[in-house]
């Protein structure tokens, strides 16, 4: 589906918003909803700053999110649903929006919690903050729905235009607050926020989230990663942070420098064990990729397996939900 690729790109887009295009989209969305265009459009550098801007508004009028987004959205969905039938709609959603749903929703949720957890957010205002966050139109992060609607009507063209050119926005009768997109977005293969040497998500005003393979980590923790040694890793008391340290440091390097011994070797690979104080042992299989890299070398990688694993083959079989007796690939690449 071409529109999935297009909207996957929109959901992950970084860099300065196209403000004239986004503002034209906002005005179109208001007109399509039968409303007068907003008198003012206020830009903010991040969703956090957008929320502050929303709070500072005085003569903005009522929220028109329902008219601008929710109602036309629901009606378009019903229209396509009726046109395709329940099974047809499920299938259509499966090849369009569903492909983008999990990762985009997770990203939006992380931004929300990044805002509620921000040091500048007053705990006394949390209920109101949460409410205002739910009032936002998610712009580029509405990509899953917009992918499903793409090419099936003009009614959501304004919303699609804003999403393609800007970040989150809050529509009020007289004023619209609209945010810039991130300047940095780094995710791993599974779509989780992931970066070892800086923010995984950052906006132009400095609002940022740090994460390693999806796990939120403090910014100063990442700074420390570059100066790790095995002793520091062993003394880290937080098991999750220690796992991040091990992954960043490299199991291979840790194994070499901590003098770990292989506990077994067979045709599938090598089994290693690292004993950790006050925690279960780390047991890993070291396997070599069957297909050589373009430069002719073979990539070695490590997979963590349950601590009671006795052989490398048992470990590899476990990663596929099998026992060692039944794991017998005829061919692997």
């Amino acid at each position: 589906m071409q529109q999935v690729d297009k909207w996957r790109g929109v959901a992950a887009a970084t860099g300065a918003a196209d403000r004239p295009a986004a503002e034209a989209g906002i005005r179109l969305a208001y007109r399509t909803a039968g409303l007068a265009e907003p008198e003012r459009i206020v830009w903010a550098d991040s969703p956090l700053a957008g929320l502050t801007a929303v709070r500072s508004l005085t003569e903005q009028g009522r929220s028109v999110r329902d008219e601008v987004r929710t109602k036309p959205w629901a009606e378009e969905r019903r229209r396509i649903h009726d046109e395709l039938g329940p099974a047809g709609w499920a299938e259509w959603w499966g090849v369009t929006g569903a492909r983008l749903w999990d990762t985009t929703r997770a990203l939006a949720e992380r931004i929300r919690s990044g805002i509620t957890d921000a040091p500048t957010t007053d705990p006394a205002e949390l209920p109101e903050t949460r409410q205002l966050l739910l009032d936002a139109v998610l712009g580029q992060h509405d990509a899953a729905w917009l992918a499903a609607f793409d090419g099936r009507g003009e009614r959501l063209a304004g919303l699609a235009e804003v999403a393609a050119h800007a970040g989150w926005w809050w529509p009020y009768e007289k004023v619209t607050v609209v945010c810039e997109r991130p300047v940095e977005l780094h995710r791993d293969e599974a779509g989780r926020l992931d970066r070892g040497d800086g923010p995984a998500l950052a906006y132009p005003d400095g609002f940022a989230l740090y994460a390693w393979r999806g796990m939120p980590v403090p910014a100063d923790f990442l700074a420390e990663l570059t100066t790790l040694d095995p002793a520091r890793i062993r003394t880290e008391e937080n098991a999750e942070l220690r796992r991040v340290m091990l992954e960043y440091y490299g199991y291979d390097r840790y194994l070499a420098e901590s003098g770990a011994e292989p506990i077994g070797k067979d045709e599938t690979g090598i089994l290693w064990r690292i004993a950790l104080a006050d925690d279960e042992d780390v047991v890993m299989v070291e396997v070599v990729n069957s297909t050589p890299e373009p430069d002719g070398t073979s990539r070695t990688y490590w997979l963590r397996v349950p601590p009671n694993t006795r052989t490398a083959k048992e470990g590899v079989a476990w990663t596929f939900g099998l026992d060692a007796q039944t794991y017998e690939p005829l061919r692997q690449t």
């Binding site: 589906m1 690729d5 293969e189 925690d279 279960e280 997979l303 990663t319 939900g321 061919r331």
Partner: protein, 109 residues
């Protein structure tokens, strides 16, 4: 059984294929007409099968096991791995996982 990177393809005897599978909805093919066994979210690289056949998700969840039926055989391709020819028949498609204390996560290659 056949392995391509983080995907294992295990032959299944026809008589042990659950009876509901014939009525179950097939997974849609991708824009290139392929059956996608596993998709890399960011790179877009896919373990995919070309040719006739169908793919049915057996249980819920993004990485739940899937059943693959190839009435005429087929081939599994991936941008970074060598192609593997498959004989005709039924297969269970298993995505590799990794152990985490208290949890299990799917490996992405």
């Amino acid at each position: 059984m056949y392995r391509q990177g983080d995907v294992l393809i295990v032959p299944v005897a026809e008589e042990s294929v659950p009876s509901g599978i014939t009525e179950a909805r097939s997974e849609p093919r991708d824009a290139r007409g392929r059956l996608v066994l596993a998709l890399g979210e960011v790179t877009g690289h896919a373990h995919a099968v070309t040719g006739p056949g169908r793919l049915v998700r057996e249980t819920g969840g993004e990485f739940g096991p899937m059943l693959l039926h190839l009435p005429e055989g087929g081939r599994v391709v991936h941008e970074e791995h060598a192609m593997i020819p498959l004989p005709k028949g039924w297969f269970r498609v298993v995505r590799q996982r990794e152990y985490l204390p208290g949890a299990v996560r799917v490996v992405a290659d």
